[in-house]
Amino acid sequence: MHLATYVGLAHRSERTLAESLRVVGEGHARHPDVLFTCRTLAGFSDDHVRQLEPVARRYGEQHGGDVEEPDRLHAAGLAEVRSGPVGLLRDLQDLHVLGTLVLTTWTVINQAAQGLRDHELLSIARSASGQTSRQLSWLNTRMKAAAPQALIVAP
């Protein structure tokens, strides 16, 4: 069964997202809403990583490198932030890309959980998808608000 590949992907991508949210938040701390919301959203991903533990115990977990389907797209996360208003916009956009990877990962796991009639996994996948959507909604909201000023008038 290849579910372990996706459990590994979920684990890895959620951890990357959480770390990247923290990096972006701290790096743009002069925008307090970015700082504090990124911290809160990173907490969502931490929770998902914790919730994955019993699943990983049951299905195993495979990480990139020794798997049959190695990563072609390397979503390494954000180690540092850009500066200025356009930099903030780009960083938020990168977070959105990472979040989308997480969301589709949960979508795939959700499908497998239905096929397996695994109630526990289904419940985790559903709730994690919902929380990931909240992360994406905030990123989208914040980018929309910031875009005109950043692109048209920022120094």
Binding site: P32, T40, T141, V153
Partner: protein
């Protein structure tokens, strides 16, 4: 048309014919006995008082709320007329009485301005007004008029020359503004313009400002200091009910069985509404009061007196407390399941969210007693009718919108909304904040329109005859804190500040001073005085104030008043409306057909234009005219063909403006502020049902630690308003609360070796103040500081070292949904600096009262008069109906 209502002593003879002529209702009924000897004297006065006679010359500094007129549940609140005249003048020496309403809090008490020799010399409450039944509070009495003839009024425009502000003429000053404005528009377009206005102008002025900004310039960067006082109220209404609009009415006070005050020290913030409450709680059949506040305020004392509960949660934990109360409703079967099914959405999600908040969990998080929480919940769950009021203790604290929404949830779960005695009053901080919300000069579109709804934007475009794309609606209008952020980075190059003092009132003052004083942004300030903010401006425009111009405004419970011009403004000062029109003319804003975009000249013309903008929206003014507003009382909107006399309370049918095509917002994630999309909203099919929304409690943004071990919170005193621009120029009010202080609990004071009146240094990671300490009634571990005190009246003020300004310490952080800054969640430390030379300058009459003795009582206000008069019938008052009267509808 007579100017204003008759003198109260002759009220029955000259009462306007539209009011019901009824026998006197005033009954001198005495409730639970007050204890002080002064109160006993007042009682004797009352006992012998006859209707129409003067109770006495009262010192309303010492006696903040005046004599009681207790009355039974469901009966009309008796009239009582309060009056202040300066310089020992008597009524017959007054030349004219000019009708208006008070602007020194959000209550909006109907009053008449006394004019003598072209000067405002005092005020008198209007017995016929639905809001105050004749009463006025200390701020209104003593503070309404002295500022106007203060020698330091701005009378000429100022411009900055070689670093100094110098007097000039209007053409020069406005010429500079227009030059910068045109240059920025040509270089980078309208996003270079920001407006930061107020809760002090009239509706007409906000509407014109809104049209200039949204359709003339096309900038989304418009907000008011309403963001600091009332944004959460509006945001919470929108999240729960689909649109802004106060559901309840002050008349609910007469009908409720329980009264919950959440973070609302009503006794000091709305003294006249508190008189209304006291006249019920001091009657033989009082409602039970529940108070949520970290200080032992007069409200907390009243809660204990009436057999209610005082819950003093740790600062920053309001939402945990609310989740606990909500859980109790579910756990004890106090939910009206059928009403909830028919009229709400989201009950199962809410049940899930509050499930972990058991009384024990809440007790640990909030530092309250679990049984007290249970008792408060039981009072809510088992009282027939409950009125809840909410203010800054929730709005300016952590998780503001989620906490305010939780109050709605409690009412919705029991179906306690829309009937006399059952309602919610999300209060406002300022007298005309409501109009800024309605008219679109803050972060909203006029008429509670939804910026995400193309049809709503199209309606405005049609009304103003501009391209819909001119009106910025790609994202929510920019909130105040973000406007200052853009001004800081210089992408806003022209910041126009109108009638507000951000250098004192915004969080993290040092940063705000830097932004206003820097070269990266051209700052225009329009005000009555050379405020701390005006001193940092590039151009200062002298404005006319209340009583010096005509316009309308709307109080917290939707009552619209017309405030007439009583006197001429000093020197070359001009009304805010005239100033905006001058700018619009100079900029030559045109509509799509080349006609002037802002064609109006007189306030009444603007009012008529605004009325059209409100047509068909929840905030419908279509039945209101200046002529209608010249009657005996203010009128609550909506006023329409179907409700020609206005509407006392909303949602009597349990139908809310949540339809996707009607609502003001599709809603937000209460935890993050992410917007709900139109498709998501439509898929929920709210169709008139209210939303039950919840969120988990999260820790506040700054928690006490080893370096800063205490919690810091800010607030008001009863004698001052905002940054004291008006109240600080009233001798009676100034003397009552002359200087800043901080309050410490007895336990903390003992630990720190601080005695009453000692000078202490209070520090946060952002700044420090040095003020005298009151050993008072604040929750242990918490420091309270009043935010009124800047430096305009200090001779030796160093602008870089504000030693008494509370916002030196506060954080730049805001609520994710309402974007209201959090003034009440910071960490601090306290160090004793030196011994004092007497008690702290904190008033003794209310929440700042000392714990120990030996502090002389606050007193010494100029004499005022208080008269008991015939109580007229009030339109739409349910108590009139209950008594079989004909005045109500």
């Amino acid at each position: 048309m007579s100017r204003g209502p008759p003198a109260p002593a002759r009220a029955s003879a000259a009462r306007p014919t539209s009011m019901t002529n009824r026998p006197p209702r005033t009954r001198i009924r005495l409730g639970t006995e007050p204890r002080s000897s002064r109160a006993r004297r007042a009682r004797l006065d009352l006992r012998t008082a006859l209707v129409g006679s003067t109770v006495g010359h009262m010192d309303r500094i010492a006696d903040v709320w005046g004599p009681r007129t207790p009355h039974g549940k469901g009966t009309v609140w008796p009239a009582r007329v309060d009056e202040y005249l300066a310089d020992g003048l008597s009524e017959d020496e007054v030349d004219r009485w000019v009708p208006s309403a008070c602007v020194l809090c959000s209550n909006g008490c109907g009053c008449d301005i006394a004019v003598k020799d072209g000067r405002m010399v005092g005020v008198r409450g209007r017995a016929t007004d639905v809001v105050n039944h004749g009463r006025l509070g200390p701020k209104g009495l003593y503070g309404s008029t002295p500022w106007a003839s203060s020698p330091d009024r701005l009378t000429r425009p100022l411009v900055r020359e070689a670093g100094q502000l110098v007097e000039t003429d209007w053409d020069t000053a406005m010429g500079r503004v227009v030059e910068v404005s045109r240059r920025l528009l040509a270089e980078k377009g309208p996003l270079t313009h920001g407006f930061y206005s107020t809760g002090q102008l009239f509706a007409e002025e906000y509407y014109v400002l809104g049209v200039i900004g949204k359709a003339g310039l096309g900038t989304p960067h418009m907000d008011g200091n309403t963001r600091l006082c009332t944004a959460t109220s509006a945001a919470a209404f929108k999240e729960s009910f689909g649109a802004d609009g106060q559901p309840g009415s002050y008349t609910d006070v007469e009908h409720c069985d329980a009264l919950f005050l959440y973070g609302h020290n009503m006794a000091e913030t709305q003294t006249v509404l508190w008189m209304r409450v006291l006249d019920r709680t001091r009657s033989p059949d009082p409602p039970v009061v529940v108070c949520v506040d970290p200080r032992r305020t007069p409200v907390a004392v009243e809660a204990e007196r009436t057999g209610g509960v005082h819950l003093a949660p740790r600062v920053g934990t309001n939402l945990a407390l609310m989740n606990g109360l909500t859980r109790e409703l579910f756990a004890n079967g106090w939910v009206d399941e059928r009403w909830v099914r028919d009229h709400t959405l989201g009950v199962e999600e809410l049940r899930g969210i509050v499930e972990p908040y058991t009384p024990e969990v809440v007790a640990r998080t909030c530092g309250v007693d679990a049984d007290d929480l249970r008792r408060a919940a039981r009072i809510f769950g088992e009282s027939r009718d409950v009125l809840s009021t909410v203010l800054q203790g929730f709005y300016q604290s952590h998780q503001a919108t989620a906490s305010a929404v939780a109050v709605h949830n409690l009412h919705l779960l029991r179906g306690l909304i829309g009937r006399p005695g059952s309602g919610v009053l999300q209060m406002n901080g300022q007298p005309t904040a409501q109009n800024n919300r309605e008219c679109g000069a803050d972060g909203d579109l006029p008429g509670f329109r939804n910026w995400e709804n193309p049809r709503h934007v199209g309606e405005l475009a049609e009304l103003w005859n501009v391209d819909p794309l001119t009106i910025p609606h790609w994202a929510p209008p920019t909130h105040a804190m973000q406007i200052f952020g853009y001004a800081e980075e210089g992408s806003i190059g022209l910041l126009w500040v109108v009638g507000t003092n951000p250098a004192v009132s915004m969080p993290e003052s040092a940063r705000i001073r830097r932004i206003l004083g820097g070269d990266q942004c051209f700052v225009v300030v329009q005000d009555l005085f050379l405020t701390e903010t005006a001193r940092l401006a590039d151009v200062v425009l002298p404005a006319a104030g209340w009583g010096e111009k005509t316009g309308t405004f709307t109080n917290t419970n939707r009552v619209v008043h017309l405030s007439e011009k009583a006197v001429e403004p000093p020197g070359e000062a001009r009304s805010d409306l005239e100033i905006f029109l001058m700018y619009a003319d100079a900029m030559d804003f045109r509509d799509r057909d080349g006609a002037p975009l802002v064609p109006w000249r007189e306030p009444e013309e603007v009012f008529d234009a605004w009325r059209e903008a409100s047509r068909g929206r929840p905030v419908d003014y279509t039945g209101l005219t200046y002529a209608r507003l010249r009657g005996p009382t203010g009128i609550p909107w909506p006023v329409t063909e179907h409700a020609p006399d206005g509407t006392d309370r909303l949602y009597h049918d349990g139908v809310f403006p949540t339809r996707t095509d009607e609502c003001e917002t599709y809603g937000h994630d209460l935890l993050t502020g992410a917007v709900v999309t139109e498709q998501e909203h439509r898929a929920m099919r709210p169709d008139g049902r209210a939303f039950l929304k919840g969120a988990h409690h999260t820790p506040p943004h700054e928690e006490p630690g080893p370096e800063y071990p205490m919690l810091y919170t800010t607030g008001r005193t009863v004698y001052q308003f905002h940054t004291r621009t008006k109240t600080g120029r009233s001798p009676s009010l100034r003397a009552a609360a002359p200087d800043a202080w901080v309050e410490l609990s007895e336990v903390d004071a003992a630990r720190l070796g601080v005695s009453e009146g000692d000078v202490v240094r209070v520090e946060s990671p952002r700044g420090a103040i040095e003020v005298r300490a009151r050993v008072g009634r604040v929750r242990p571990g918490t420091v309270f500081a009043p935010f009124h005190y800047g430096s305009w009246d200090l001779d030796d003020a160093d602008p870089e070292h504000q030693h008494r300004q509370a916002n030196e310490l506060t954080m730049t952080v805001w609520d994710p949904v309402s974007k209201q800054p959090y003034f009440k969640t910071a960490a601090c430390r306290v160090v004793r600096v030196r011994g004092g030379d007497g008690p702290a300058p904190a008033p003794t009459t209310a929440a700042s009262a000392p714990v120990g003795g030996g502090v002389p009582g606050t007193s010494g206000g100029a004499p005022t008069t208080t008269r008991l008069t015939d109580t007229p019938g009030y339109p739409d008052d349910p108590a009139v109906d209950a008594a079989g009267g004909t005045g109500g509808r």
